[in-house]
């Protein structure tokens, strides 16, 4: 079937087998390989992307279910890999050493972006609870949690200074 998805602002149109998973559509048809597959039971969250702004596990949706909709992957967050061009969450992950091997990172970052969109100043417990569906084997989550909290306070500070201005 023909599927058309707006991925990171660009339209991607492809003829794919009906059973194609969204994550494979992103990796194969859209050639965006940052989003990884870490399990086959929707348990690990490595494939987390935003679908119309909501975080989803892209291994659990058919590409067909994203037809006509907008997907954002980690490749769509920053305007380049220059540290200054990164999204506040990406910058915080780097500053706090919130990644090691990098495999869970794209999904983890998108889950964090989604969390902060819903709750701009989460507590540590709320961050841990929100990331329960995203596994990381390297960091013990310690610095991931710190990164999300740091990104939240950076957002708060930015919002406060914008209000003052």
């Amino acid at each position: 079937m023909k599927v058309t998805v707006t991925v990171n602002g660009s339209q991607v149109e492809a003829e794919v087998p009906d059973r194609t998973l969204l994550v494979h559509f992103l990796r194969e048809q859209a050639s965006l390989t940052a989003t990884n597959v870490g399990c086959d039971t929707s348990s690990c969250g490595a494939c987390t992307v935003l679908l119309d702004g909501q975080s989803v596990k892209s291994c659990t949706l058919l590409a067909a279910q994203a037809d006509g909709r907008a997907v954002q992957t980690v490749e769509g967050l920053a305007s380049g890999d220059d540290p200054d061009a990164m999204h506040p969450v990406q910058r915080a992950f780097r500053a706090e050493h919130g990644l090691q091997c990098g495999f869970c990172t794209p999904g983890m970052v998108m889950a964090a972006v989604s969390l902060l969109a819903e709750n701009s100043s989460p507590t540590e417990e709320e961050v841990r609870s929100a990331l329960e569906g995203n596994l990381c084997r390297c960091t013990g989550y310690h610095n991931i949690v710190r990164a999300v909290l740091a990104a939240a306070s950076e957002n708060q500070a930015t919002a406060a200074s914008e209000r003052q201005a």
């Binding site: 869970c104 990172t105 609870s129 084997r137």
Partner: protein
Amino acid sequence: MSILGTRVVRTEDPRLLTKGGTYVDDMRLPGMARVTFVRSPVAHAMITGIDTSAALAAPGVVAALTAADLTDLGPPPPDDGSGPNEAAPLPLGGPWSEPLLAVDRVRYVGEPVAMVITDERYQGEDAAELVSVDYEALPAVVGYDAALSGSTLLFPAAETNVAISGGAPADDSAFEGCEVVVEQTIENQRLAPVPMEGRAAAAIWEDGKLTAWVSTQNAQITRFILSGVLGLDPGAIRVVAPDVGGGFGAKVGLDRDAILVVWAAKHIGHALSWTETRSENLLGMTHGRAQRQTIKIGGTRDGRIQAYRLDIVQDTGAYPRMGGFLPFLTRLMAAGPYDIPNASAASTTVVTNATPIAAYRGAGRPEATAAIERAVDLFAAEIGKDPADVRRMNLVPDGKFPYQSPCGPVYDSGAYTGALDQVLAGAGYRELRAEQARRRERGDVLQLGLGVSSYVEITAADAEGGETAQLIVHDNGTATVYTGSSAHGQGHHTAWAMLVEAELGIEMAKVTVIHGDTDLIPLGTGTYGSRSLQLGGVAVHKAAVEVKEQARLLAADLLEASESDLELDTGSGTWQVRGDPASSKTWAEVASHAGDGGLTASVHHTAQPTFPFGSHVAVVEVDTETGKARLIRHVTVDDAGTVLNPILFEGQRHGGIAQGVAQALYEEVAYDADGNPLTSTLVDYAAITAAELPSFELLTSETPAANPLGAKGIGEAGTIGSTPATQNAVIDAVSHLGVRHIDMPATPERVWAAINAARGTL
């Protein structure tokens, strides 16, 4: 001020955060087809027939291969008739030989039986279902006792299920003078490593050269294995380790599955790629731990430990790979950080119808620490003393280093008592004990448990094999490091660039670090056993020192000065005549003067193992009605010598601690009585999540090691310390109810059962 010891954020991160890494599954080779394995669904059976004809007729199928197709391999290494030998442990040959694809017998669920190759990924799963394999079931050997009984043999020609054994014979006279003797059988359960990226390989055969991209911890060892199995000259093989999504010991070299992918690329002349699913990973990637331990500890009533004995049965799964070697490391470290006059250990390694065992974060050492740390707590409980006090009384005193352990190794350096006192103070141990007493007094449902562990471990156990580094300072003033170490999350690229900047003053941004490509780095060993910094890092450092000495001669020539008057200003990266800053030459100028495009130094650094140490305190709350245990604080001192980059050092500790807590409380690979795996997805295998952990409290202690960087290894220490601390904490929480031991993982069911057994209400 040197950059060493400062908090430098990673150079690796911008790429990983914005574009994602390039893992094997991200490779796109021309005409690439996909490999899907047909795996045994039964634990133990004879194969009486394989029919691939239906699969071959399915859409998109390029080939379907079985053991009958393995006709173009090199001859197997000759059996030298010496029998099992711990010095050359993997894999065992002779009657224990492990095939690439099952020939006439399968020995574990998940064992590769056939492979199908298809144009597209999804076609492979369909076609694999069409391969028809006839199995004639055999009784499954599940667990230690079934293996030891020998009533069913996995390898009839071997005439036993015992693959290897070793150690010191038991000597009960050691316990004769002891006022108190405690014995306990402990199970150190089977675990799955679960790197977030499973196993993966891609390969292409072009113009007589085989190129393989493998998710591995060491490209050079991978090439060595491939060269042997495929019968190809090493020069005809290029192995690349691209980004690797975690390894934890289970990606040392490469497994038979990945060997088959590389073989098939050559056999059918087709670019191939394979990335396992998580279910395959939980069945096919080697597991870790799996020891049944019997401990015996004896001493005086006032707390002095006089004798310790550890007897191990190691389950090595269906084939004796590295699992046969792990008990050697357990035995070596059996006495732990204690000055025990009489300590010994022995082990018996058996095969069972389960996934083969190999290294998993700590690889034999966490098992040693888990055993003695339980023993010390049992001993302390028996004599009614605080376990921290018993530890302090028995730790190797500072004045005894280097310390000869009765189990073999010589511990290089340490301040064991200081680490214990530091962690107790940092945790507020006395106040926690008071809070525990209040809760006990009130009979609270939520009881507090304090777990202490002290450890010493061995890192770079194979330091005599060393590690390589080549450093080139180019004539434009930039530098390239080629390292035999192999990064898979540890931050080597950042650390090695820091070493170059520190020694030469070439800023990190101008230093490129390359690893994991045998065409560029033919000689190297890779990353495992917490060996990288103390071997690979020191090799980089020594290469920088060597380049500096070469440069001194060139700068002297350029500046028409005596070598002894020259100095390198590492702040600006320029050579100067001492006392005359105006006379300065940049690295570009000096390296250009060398001709040949720059300056080069190659180093193969060998050393001796080092012995990191520390102490952990875990604080848990246990719900005495449900048995649920929750870690609420974890405080650690992990002394691995001088710290190069605290950010990386802490990251290694965090990850290690979490994996240890996971073993203590949650994770376990389980089989039913027929050898069917019960934990073959991440729904069933309880990989630890953020919601189950607190933030960790890390304290600092640095006792330099005797190498130029003062470094010991830190990759596994967190796991080694945190596992017994957490287990001890759970038992401590309910010890006032009469509980003395609970095996790992301390699940609510087990804790509840232990409480009720002690109360006599079960």
